[in-house]
Structures are given as C-alpha cells and as structure tokens.
Symmetry: C2
C-alpha cells in the first residue's frame, strides 16, 4: 500500500482570483500580505507493486482527472 | 519576510463529498483507491519581526478567515 501526496497549483502567470479575494479579505482584517498562492492537496492511498508503479499511477490520476494540463502543474510524492 | 505554508483539511469524521466523487471517477478510469483525502494549501508571504510573530499571524489568519473551526483542522509551517 502506498500513499501519494499530490499537490496541484496554477501555472506561473495564471490569474488566481481566489487568492486575490483572500488577500483582500486578510488585508481588511489587518493582515498585510505580499503574496498568496492557493494549491490543492490530494492524499491518495492505493496498492502498487513498487514505488515506481505507484508514482506512475499517481501521475496518471493527475493527467487524466485531477489536473488540467493547460493551467495546472502538479507535484507527486510517494511514500510507503 | 516569512513564508507560511498553511494546510487546511476536514476534521476526522467529517464527510468529504468531493473526495467521494473523485474516488468514484478514479475507479471508473481503472484506478482503485483505498482512501482519498482533499486538503487546501495556502502559501502566504508576509512581514513579521520573528518566526514566533509569523506563526501567530498565520494562526490568526486561519482562525479568523481561512478555516472554519467547526469542521476544519489546520497546520502551519513557517519558513524564513
């Protein structure tokens, strides 16, 4: 059994209106920020024969469902 | 300048319909999973006099805006 930690974020230069809204709201509460980025994390547990297969599966999940390759980049960490 | 990495997830036992839907869709693509959790990551850069103040500020942002204490738990990592 493997645990894949998949982090999905917007590619450099993509507009992030959610981050803009949060920065604005934080500013209204007195928290001045210089930068804010939002990402999505998926922790997925599944069977694989070895770490290499686990990473390939996780990459397939990203490419076929979790991420939109036009706007997202993703990072995968696989743990036993 | 500090960078706070804030991870927000649902508390143990809270229903996560998004995760259920994603597991279902992954299964339809041939990816059987045993568990899937979704979390939100915020990378926030801001000024603080020291690491302790930076962590306090990040905690304040969570408690006052980013997290809903009824359903979420959060973790904070502060880096220079």
């Amino acid at each position: 059994m493997y645990l894949a930690k998949i982090t999905i974020g917007l590619k450099e230069g993509m507009l992030d209106p959610e981050a803009t809204a949060i920065r604005h709201a934080l500013g209204n509460l007195g928290y001045e920020t210089d930068e804010l980025r939002t990402k999505k994390l998926f922790l997925v547990r599944f069977d694989a024969t070895d770490a290499r297969e686990a990473e390939e599966k996780a990459r397939g999940m990203c490419e076929r469902l979790l991420a939109n390759p036009v706007i997202h980049h993703f990072e995968i960490e696989v743990h036993r």
